[in-house]
């Protein structure tokens, strides 16, 4: 059987004085899907990075098929048949999908016969559950598509052990089902073993055979999925003393108020010179969460970027409280606009700067944090420490570079910056990508609390469940336009799915259901 057995023996890893992994002994049986759970910052990524040789463990050993094996670098791991899909994207942004796939194979011939390669890639793609345009560049792809490309890159290598670090956090539940179903099939047929990090219990119970839980660098439980339950796992993740927070209900206290954000005829250019947003009209009232549903790549990314000022607008008007809004700094401040971008490290942070610097980005130029053109770093650092405490950001101090934080903790740091203080308009994209369930509940709670305080929230998410749970009104975006809208309480999943899938193209005219 080609599938590999993986064991780690008392693996430890320290970052300075901080212990990220403490004597972890994990056992992945060949031909199974093994799920790895844990809070943000528990050390899951660190563990798998030690296995593939991205980090060097300080103590302990890795056993492949029962034999102790030194894996000094990811290249060695690849040679052994171990593939890894990292939590952060590793595709080359400026090269096409085909070029990225070719690169992943490692050996690139001196002269590339593109016709043969393309035919081969097309054939390969047909055996997988995803379809991607071979000529698209990752720069232009939505997160979900990039994630698919990452997985494709690894599948192309026919790995005998596939490690995936939160592969589904950027996929819709339907996509996740496809991907995980395909992986489980491969595993059970003995082609490869799968070690998968996730935050979603649903995926664990539906697709994994075994499950292990890490807490603060320690392996706290490990066993068959059949013997566990989400409650037990949650308890193991959080520790004995702490109880998981309950999600606040979606109940809306007051009816939405007056229209606050008004978008008319918005047109935005995509990365390839095509029109990605084509005449979009939308209104958001105060005290309302409007959820934007859609299959990724239908202009949501460009739409949000244009709203927050990261992308120029071709045409159309955006008004906030009746005044034109261009997302300038002064406007953001006076109209109290905040935003949570997707992939916060890429879109909302400066990776090389410290946590405190990044937390300061909104207010470093205004009193009381600035005086006569000078930044008062000490005050900002004190506030950063308070936020780190309040939002539970796991970091080695406010002076640590933000890109050394775990994925979920970067998200929390951004959250602290954007959600503290009162906002009148929140522009949110996929806010819970890669967060553990406690953090998800917390963020959802904060969004709802903001809504109840009268804030308008525009929420773009690829996760329909999230939209149904949070939104007051759901609109469907397809082909760069809003094609359907409905109050969330009347929304039906299959109907939304049909509109997302492009039903408007077959229907005579976009119809709208009365509220």
């Amino acid at each position: 059987m080609p599938a590999l057995a993986l064991q780690t023996f008392r693996l430890s890893k320290h970052f300075g004085a901080f212990t990220a992994l403490d004597q972890v002994s994990l056992d992945v049986r060949p031909g199974t899907v093994h799920a790895l759970l844990g809070e943000n910052g528990a050390g899951k990524s660190t563990l798998v990075k030690c296995v593939v040789g991205y980090y060097r463990a300080d103590e302990g050993a890795v056993l492949i098929d029962g034999r102790e094996t030194a894996i000094p670098s990811p290249t060695t791991a690849r040679a052994l048949g171990i593939g890894m899909v990292y939590q952060h994207f590793t595709v080359v942004p400026g090269m096409s999908v085909a070029e990225n796939l070719l690169l992943a194979r490692g050996r690139v011939p001196a002269r590339i016969d593109w016709r043969a390669v393309r035919a081969e890639l097309e054939a390969f793609m047909a055996t997988t559950p995803f379809r991607l345009d071979l000529d698209a560049r990752p720069l232009e792809l939505a997160s979900g598509e990039k994630q698919k490309l990452e997985i494709l890159k690894q599948l192309l290598l026919r790995p005998r052990l596939l490690i995936l670090d939160e592969p589904t956090s950027v996929l819709t539940p339907q996509e996740a089902d496809e991907v995980l179903g395909a992986l489980r099939e491969r595993a059970h047929s003995g082609d490869c073993s799968v070690l998968m990090i996730t935050h979603k219990f649903r995926e664990v119970s539906a697709y994994a055979d075994d499950v292990s839980v890490l807490r603060r660098g320690r392996l706290v439980c490990s066993g068959s999925v059949a013997d566990s339950s989400p409650q037990l796992l949650a308890q193991a993740m959080m520790g004995e003393g702490r109880v998981a927070p309950v999600t606040v209900g979606r109940l809306q206290v007051a009816a939405p108020g007056a229209v606050r954000l008004q978008i008319e005829g918005l047109r935005v250019m995509g990365d390839r010179g095509e029109e990605a947003v084509r005449g979009l009209d939308l209104q958001v009232c105060s005290g309302e969460i409007v959820g934007v549903a859609g299959v990724s790549g239908n202009g949501q990314r460009e739409f949000m970027q244009a709203l927050v000022g990261q992308r120029p607008r071709l045409a159309g008007s955006v008004t906030l409280e009746g005044r034109p809004f261009h997302a300038r700094r002064a406007e953001n401040r006076s109209q109290r606009v905040r935003s949570l971008p997707e992939e916060p490290l890429l879109n909302g942070c400066v990776g090389e700067l410290s946590v405190a610097d990044n937390m300061a980005l909104r207010e470093f130029d205004q009193s009381p944090f600035a005086w006569a053109g000078w930044v008062r770093w000490r005050r900002l650092a004190a506030r950063a420490r308070a936020w780190i405490e309040e939002y539970g950001v796991k970091t080695q101090g406010e002076g640590a570079m933000i890109r050394t934080l775990s994925g979920g903790n970067v998200q929390r740091a951004v959250l602290a910056r954007e959600l503290s203080g009162e906002a009148d308009l929140l522009l949110v994209s996929n806010p819970v990508f890669g967060l553990d369930f406690a953090a998800v509940a917390e963020i959802h709670g904060r969004l709802l609390a903001a809504r109840d305080a009268g804030c308008s929230v525009l929420l773009v998410s690829e996760d329909l469940d999230e939209l149904l749970e949070l939104s007051d009104r759901i609109v469907v975006m397809s082909g760069g336009r809003i094609v359907f809208q409905t109050p969330a309480r009347d929304a039906r999943r299959h109907e939304l799915g049909a509109w997302m899938g492009g039903r408007h193209e077959t229907a005579a005219a976009p119809q709208e259901r009365a509220a």
Binding site: G16, F18, P72, R328, S339, L346, E352, L361, D365
Partner: protein
């Protein structure tokens, strides 16, 4: 809190440039040995010529003054995310403004006049580099290429004017402008043979460090340079910040030209085009675009320049031999970036890889 995470980046910041410089010296030794000279004598002369005695120190400091300013012309735009290599152009335009402005009006005598002319020199340099930044931000032209091409244009303009309309009829075989009035020149510091330009250079490096580290505008510039997307999300005027950083850098290089004219050449002539702008690129990269680090690095490279003439006199090496050393240094500095973050972990994987081979062989 202490530990590998905190000391490693700092140690690397020092170790990488030092190792690259050592490597460059070794390669330079091999190079001169191939030419039949004794490398040990060359290394010794390099040191003696740069820092051996009071005379060489004065020579070294004299040369390091413009290097500090031209290095800032690379460092400041770099912190805003742009790679500007056209400091030479800003420098010659600054020199031209210094010598040329008195043709247009009679500046008041004394230090007020000098300051006025220096302001003109700085403005000339600022405009030139800001143009490269502007082309980048609003027209999408690669700033590295455009700044280099703009430097060639600046040099051509300089020569055209100095050899044409501004030429002093008395300058026969070395076309120059009219000399600057005695009272407008920049003198030496006390009894040393080092002019006040050194103080300008050091003060501006310190000021730049303060600006970047502690001012609202400087921090905004670093954000725009570190991640333009995040800067736009924050509503920062990224384009304006970038162009301003370019203008500030260009002003420093323009000032360097003005000071060279007022303190060394006393008029504008082709000797001003001595490559300070290009060596400044090297200085800034070695200093990792940190204004405070620019000061010692500029002194080191000023020393190499000073040693060049000694190599020529004692060993008969051509004056340009030092350029070879600088070339080696530049290539190694750029290459050393690929080791950043891995310098201290590097030996271990190498060791392990051999042990795998040993195990495989044993089996």
């Amino acid at each position: 809190m202490a530990g590998s995470r905190n000391w490693q980046p700092t140690a690397e910041a020092f170790a990488l440039p030092l190792l690259s410089l050592a490597g460059a010296l070794v390669l330079f030794g091999i190079f001169v040995a191939l030419g039949g000279r004794d490398p040990v004598a060359v290394w010794r002369l390099l040191f003696v010529g740069a820092f051996g005695d009071a005379f060489s120190w004065q020579n070294t400091l004299q040369r390091s003054a413009p290097l500090m300013l031209t290095a800032l012309c690379v460092a400041l735009p770099a912190r805003a995310g742009l790679v500007i290599i056209g400091g030479e152009g800003a420098l010659v335009l600054g020199g031209l403004a210094m010598a040329g402005l008195p043709y247009l009006f009679t500046p008041p005598a004394g230090w007020i006049g000098t300051l006025l002319l220096l302001a003109g020199a700085a403005a000339a340099g600022a405009c030139w580099i800001a143009l490269a930044g502007w082309l980048r931000v609003w027209r999408g032209v690669n700033e590295t290429i455009s700044s280099l091409l703009l430097a060639y244009i600046a040099i051509a303009v300089f020569k055209q004017l100095v050899e044409g309309p501004l030429r002093d009829p008395a300058s026969l075989n070395k076309p120059s402008t009219l000399p600057l009035a005695e009272s407008l020149r920049i003198g030496s510091i006390g009894s040393y043979d080092v002019h006040w330009g050194l103080v300008w250079g050091i003060c501006l490096c310190v000021a730049a460090a303060f600006w970047l580290g502690f001012s609202v505008h400087g921090f905004a510039t670093r954000v725009a340079g570190g991640n333009p997307r995040a800067a736009r999300l924050m509503g920062l005027p990224t384009g304006r910040l970038v162009v301003t950083a370019c203008a500030l850098g260009g002003a420093c290089a323009g000032l360097a030209g003005g000071i060279e004219v007022a303190a060394v050449h006393t008029n504008a002539n082709a000797a001003l085009i001595a490559g300070f702008g290009y060596t400044g690129i090297l200085v800034s990269f070695v200093a990792r675009h940190q204004p405070l680090a620019v000061i010692p690095v500029a002194i080191l490279f000023g020393g190499f320049g000073a040693a060049g003439s000694l190599l020529q006199r004692r060993l008969g090496l051509p004056d340009a031999a030092v350029q070879v050393l600088l070339g080696f240094a530049f290539v190694l500095i750029l290459a050393s970036e690929s080791l950043r973050g891995r310098l201290f972990t590097l030996p271990a994987p190498l060791r392990r890889r051999t042990s795998i081979a040993a195990v495989a062989g044993a089996r």
